[in-house]
Subunit: 364 residues, 2 copies
């Protein structure tokens, strides 16, 4: 595949014309995963994150539980080391956060590797909403009238137990979400880890995949994050905020290495691996999903079209080397969605079946 | 000022080399605010948003209340019409959301014009936190044991009042925040309006400023949003997701027009206008703040350095045409911050004083 480049980030010199900078720009090369990890620095938090993840995986291996790594939300590409501007990929994290709840319900242990501040399972029902949860809480009138009219002098408050009552628009749902959340917390089947940049994502993904390899075929990977195709090598980043109004800003980004290949071949050869393909042009969906499956040799590509992703997805699967890839559409209608039906319920039910087959077909 | 450009977004043709595209690229021009609004489409929600804002402003003009427009959070520049990728500016919206609470406490009516999903006053104390508010709620054990272990079948739930109790780590603070929030809601002094793209921001800002002009000197503008310096004209946007791996991706962005100038000269000549200057290089802070004040002729530039923005800011003010611009630092120490002190308390106290002087100095 040809390398993909945008000209290099540098503070422009007013004297240089666009044509000159075009001529002088070295064309970016397409680096391998190995080269990437050899040249880009790991996040400072990697070891601390991995210690907790190692314990989580060990505990659920003991219990013989299946473990799924869910990646969710978009990755950023900082344009400056002291980051002010960044390239981002659109994703609220709805697919990943919703799917996590159904995997937990199906008995999986879930490592929820998500973009900081993206939607999370359970709380997603109430965050990113226009009604903050404060609308669900009421102060007893007596307290209300005596309460200070500002949040800023809590020291003036008495330490008496607050008489705060809960008034949610849908009490049954809140109770249900809360019960499921508390249940998962008490069983310790959900572990959170966050990323922001594409570099943090790539380092975490490799480390978690290598760790989950001890689970053999009980490991599933549900790669729903919207990952940037480009990154900016550290040595090409501007130290400070790029100044505007000084002539042309020139960017070069290298292409992010295709990590599915080493993931399947080296990091976690026995895992059941699902990747996602999001397109806005439905014409491209199936061809690109098939191409990805052929190129990387993993088990399932779930294709979804941006504006219909809550209504239909297509599974392009290749679960047995002998078979050719098959296509399977899952669809629900608007009316079901309005009743609260979520297509992730069907997606996860299908994947749980396919994963069970994958495990059964493995060496015993 | 020279125009600032990145080459135009187009699907690359593999045959064209970087040098060619460099040569062929037309240099972007620096358009005026007038040209911008004449060529870029208004958001579809503008009229509906403005109807509510018009009522809000009218009501508080009646009451003789001062009104501040706070802009908060970062703006996006979509790279595609069916947006998957976008350029963004780093901002959680902390400065704007925190400041709003202090303006409300000072008796102002607040129009909180913020990036969708950025931090909001009051709820900011609990959102973007690693503990979702579900951690503050407890199900009564009896209900807990009988509750279904999933949030997905609310229909099975009884409609009995949920016995949910509130257990926050800092009950006094929750009560205080809640009391202030309910108080503001009951008095109707806080109005929310959201933007995502820089185009939505620019259209809303002009419309609100023209509307607030009827408030004369009682109007304040606190422009804390992190606004992109660049935009992508609609006619240069790719219709679908830009495909990677096909050679070079080439971007051209035009420079966002400087809207402070028409804001001061035409839209709201009597308003008290505060802009912000965020830099990561402290050397540039004062010179750039002074330059902005001289260029646009508004009242205050608040300069802050990215990593010290919670500890110190510098006011560069020009509140009387006769005087030369003055500098004033506001600082708090780490220890105060750890005690819960917020520098916005001092910033707003200072601005409220300066605004009062501005009003007193006006035509009576």
């Amino acid at each position: 595949m040809a390398s993909c480049s945008i000209d290099a980030v540098r503070l422009p010199t007013p004297s240089r014309s666009r044509a000159d900078s075009g001529v002088e720009t070295p064309s970016a090369h397409h680096i391998s995963a190995g080269e990437y990890y050899a040249t880009q620095p790991p996040p400072s938090t990697l070891e601390a994150d991995m210690q907790k993840i190692r314990q989580f995986i060990g505990r659920h291996k003991e219990a013989g539980r299946k473990v799924v790594l869910i990646t969710s939300g978009g990755t950023t590409v900082p344009l400056e080391r002291n980051v002010v501007r960044f390239l981002d990929n659109f994703s609220a994290g709805t697919r990943g956060a919703t799917s996590a709840e159904y995997f937990l319900k199906a008995g999986y242990a879930v490592i929820f590797m998500h973009r900081q501040f993206s939607l999370q399972p359970f709380s997603r029902h109430y965050s990113h909403s226009t009604n903050p949860f404060l609308d669900f809480l009421e102060l007893e009138p007596a307290h209300h009238s005596s309460a200070p009219s500002s949040p800023l002098n809590a020291s003036e408050m008495t330490n008496a137990d607050p008489l705060i009552t809960v008034r949610s628009p849908d009490p049954a749902k809140l109770r249900s979400v809360l019960a499921a959340y508390k249940d998962v917390k008490s069983r310790g089947t959900l572990h959170f880890v966050t990323f922001v940049t594409v570099n943090e994502y790539l380092w975490l993904l490799r480390a978690v995949a290598k760790e989950m390899n001890i689970l053999g075929r009980n490991a599933m990977y549900y790669l729903a994050a919207a990952v940037s195709d480009f990154f900016l090598p550290l040595d090409k980043m501007s130290e400070h905020k790029i100044q505007s109004g000084k002539g042309s800003l020139v960017l070069e980004m290298d292409q992010v290495p295709k990590i599915l290949k080493p993931m399947v071949d080296e990091w976690t050869p026995h895992g059941f691996l699902i990747s996602f393909k999001l397109e806005t042009d439905s014409e491209l969906l199936i061809p690109k999903a098939r191409a990805a499956l052929d190129r990387y040799g993993h088990q399932v590509v779930i294709g979804n079209e941006l504006h219909r992703r809550k209504l239909e997805v297509v599974f392009v699967s290749h679960t047995k080397a002998s078979e050719k890839a098959t296509e399977k559409w899952l669809r629900i209608d608007e009316e079901a969605v309005n009743r609260g039906k979520e297509i992730e319920e069907d997606i996860i039910a299908e994947l749980v079946r396919e994963h069970a087959t994958w495990i059964a077909d493995g060496p015993s």
